[in-house]
């Protein structure tokens, strides 16, 4: 659980910066930040499951 929370924290910090710097309007920035956050989490979980089955 702690690993997941750390990943969420990492995703939140990175997506705040990406979101604040991209796009033109405030609304677009918030949406983009949320999208980046969701992408970090989804890709992170997908990679975790892929790596889980690789025996090293």
């Amino acid at each position: 659980m702690r690993h997941f929370l750390v990943m969420c924290l990492f995703a939140a910090l990175a997506s705040v910066v990406f979101g604040a710097m991209a796009k033109d309007t405030h609304h677009e920035r918030v949406l983009y930040g949320l999208k980046v956050f969701a992408e970090f989490i989804i890709i992170g979980l997908a990679l975790a499951w892929v790596l889980y089955f690789i025996p090293w």
Partner: protein
């Protein structure tokens, strides 16, 4: 050079000198580049993310890289992560002077959050490079 290219070349304005100063300040102290331009919310958001990431990384026991070879690896391999760490500007320099966050002992490396800490420290620097470029673009009038 065709006429349209000449017109475009003439329209390119030179970057104002204070943009370089603001860019340098933004690298040195995360968030200050936006604060100098009275973009308080942006300064708090972007600078806050960098500072938070840096201190979380330190708290987790992460370690920063310098040019000294560690555990048999060459100094050259330390350069890319060092560049990332160096992005935090004064935070990196002060930590280096104080010797904080540069320990590479086995006890620290055995901590469960050691690798997470490393990643947070690297990301803090890389995010500050983005923040610095954003502050520079605003100062140069290329961005609202």
């Amino acid at each position: 050079m065709v006429k349209t290219e000449r017109v475009a070349a003439n329209n390119i304005e030179s970057t104002p000198g204070n943009a370089w100063l603001i860019g340098t300040a933004a690298w040195f102290i995360p968030g200050i580049g936006h604060a100098l331009q009275k973009r308080w919310f942006r300064a708090a958001l972007l600078g806050g993310a960098v500072w938070l990431s840096f201190f979380i990384g330190l708290r987790m026991g992460g370690h920063m890289f310098d040019l000294s070879p560690s555990q048999g690896s060459s100094a050259l391999l330390q350069v890319p992560p060092m560049i990332a760490n160096l992005g935090t500007g004064a935070l990196y320099i002060v930590s280096w002077l104080l010797g904080t966050g540069f320990a590479d002992d086995p006890v620290q490396a055995a901590r469960a959050t050691y690798e997470y800490g490393n990643t947070f420290l690297l990301i803090a620097g890389l995010l500050n490079y983005l923040t610095m470029l954003d502050a520079f673009d605003i100062a140069a009038g290329r961005k609202e």
